[in-house]
Symmetry: C2
Subunit: 332 residues, 2 copies
């Protein structure tokens, strides 16, 4: 079985062979194959959206995806929820000496497949190899570049705006936690990891009154809702009985003492839209397979305390704060 | 002494505090401070140059620089030698649990200072924290975006074209090796780590017949020259007695049995230019402090073997191959 050696990251003949045999064979496109120090792309007409993310998920392979798929979805989704069409992605690999070429090829294949699905080109890359014990298999950084052709997100909330979530929450985080060696047990938990470019496009086509979109990854739904309130003077009311949570996710979280509202998602988005357009947006979302379970979970309220509140099933109102502490490390 | 914890990478309150107190305070600019999922930048008029690089250098601090300075210079230089003006940089941090906030702040300060010097904005970032022993202090990925306003690099060599190197070779790699714990001894070796934006700009202003530029990093001068010959039908002749190598670098390499021609540089460039413009280019380079020791080291020859040859001081001709094997791991 061929293993990654320090030589593969040293910039010499072995590096060149790895690039040619593996990366160029899967990521093949007209821009990358020129192998220049920097890749050149034609002028882009519009505002550019740029985002970067490093992926250190553990384990590397999990039901519903792997670090390769995740590294493309995570970055694409950050572009999409900003209202951009993803165009290009760069990929930086840090690999541990002794890593097996076979899972590496699987990861690279996942990246290529997901990028193709989302119609983005992987146009630049870099590989570093560190000594055994100085990394945990493989870490991947992806940086994405997209274009905003028609910017409509106002980032301004109005009282009565509806808060939509595109489907069940906590799936990714619960799946990853269930697969950690120490907790290994059988379950039907599956990551929701998916690229949301088609969903965001449909939403933006349906309404010119989308205030903001965001993918609730690290920190989960509750933390992301708090982030959305930053720099506003509004509050949110979320209704517990409207929250879509799969039974297996709820049960798993109960066992570990986790709150699904703080558990990461990798293929879900929150959309805040005007009251009058909310049904229209919900309808187009429900037509798309990745957001077929979309529901309205709450609304923007007149309360000026600038906080997220949860109306519980029992009718009580409690504050939903940002996550603190360790949460679930290395979930993405 | 404050230490990095897993909570700093979990996307909750501690992550937000780290971003606000450290990253935003040093990287402060109008784009980054909006803290969106993706950063939005105004349309760029021209061909875009995009490059990515991960930095895993060991040790993190060395004479002449640190991983922070290196992470900005490395990416800026890849843009510059492609003929682009660097505009934006993204920064992805992978930090080991228990890393001290004090060196982290030094590294972030170095990045900010170097970016300001090179007139680039750090517009997006990401921080992940991995458990103790799953990283070696800190790894940094930077992705750079530049614009090519006036593209002149032909990538086509003509017989007689001159090969210029901007100064002494092997400084960075020799410095890093000398500082590795196992080899620690006093020396005057210093990394050449520097951003080359002003040098490349001067070169491109001086001549419309620059064929290609490249920064000879991993693999050193010899490997980079071989890469430059890819997809051409020409050869190169390099003259050993013209190669600028500092005495301390030569002595240090002699002790370790290294060839300075294969040792990394981080503030040097190779420029291949038409014979008739070579004196003019050399002159503008020598006027700039970062390339004051620029010299012509060889030329493109009529030989169709597509190889790099070295004419030794004794008059023999030998082939200079690409580097193979481990070289110097984690030099950048």
């Amino acid at each position: 079985m061929e293993l990654i050696t320090l030589a593969h990251g040293s910039g010499g003949l072995e590096s060149a062979k790895l690039i040619n045999d593996l990366f160029l064979s899967y990521f093949n496109n007209d821009i990358l194959c020129k192998q220049n120090d920097a890749s050149l792309v034609n002028p882009i007409d519009g505002i550019l959206a740029i985002t970067t993310d490093s992926f250190v998920v553990n384990p590397l392979f999990f039901p519903g995806g792997d670090i390769g798929k995740l590294s493309i979805c995570g970055t694409i989704n950050d572009l999409c929820v900003s209202g951009a069409t993803p165009l290009y992605i760069t990929a930086g690999f840090i690999i541990e000496e002794g890593f097996n070429m076979c899972p590496l090829e699987k990861i690279v294949y996942s990246m290529a497949k997901t990028a193709t699905l989302a119609k983005v080109k992987i146009i630049a890359g870099d590989t570093k190899v560190v000594e055994k014990g100085k990394c945990d298999g493989i870490y991947i950084n992806t940086t994405g570049i997209g274009v905003i052709e028609n910017y409509v997100l106002s980032h301004q909330f109005e009282i009565g705006d509806k808060i939509i979530v595109s489907g069940s929450i906590g799936d990714h985080g619960a799946c990853i936690m269930s697969k950690r060696a120490m907790l290994a047990f059988d379950s039907s938990l599956k990551s929701d990891c998916a690229p949301l470019h088609a969903v965001t496009k449909a939403i933006l086509n349906a309404s010119a009154n989308v205030r903001m979109m965001r993918d609730p990854t690290r920190g989960g739904l509750a933390t992301t809702l708090n982030e959305l309130l930053l720099n506003t003077d509004k509050s949110m009311m979320i209704y517990e009985n409207l929250l879509p949570i799969k039974e297996e996710v709820r049960n798993f979280c109960d066992i570990l003492g986790l709150d699904p509202l703080y558990v990461a998602n990798e293929g879900k988005l929150i959309c805040i839209v005007s009251d009058e357009d909310s049904d229209k947006v919900l309808e187009v979302m429900q037509k798309h397979s990745l957001s077929k379970d979309a529901v309205i979970i709450g609304e923007i309220t007149a309360d000026h305390s600038n906080k997220v509140y949860l109306k519980t099933s029992l009718g009580a109102t409690k504050r939903l704060s940002m996550a603190t502490g360790e949460l679930l490390p290395r979930i993405c």
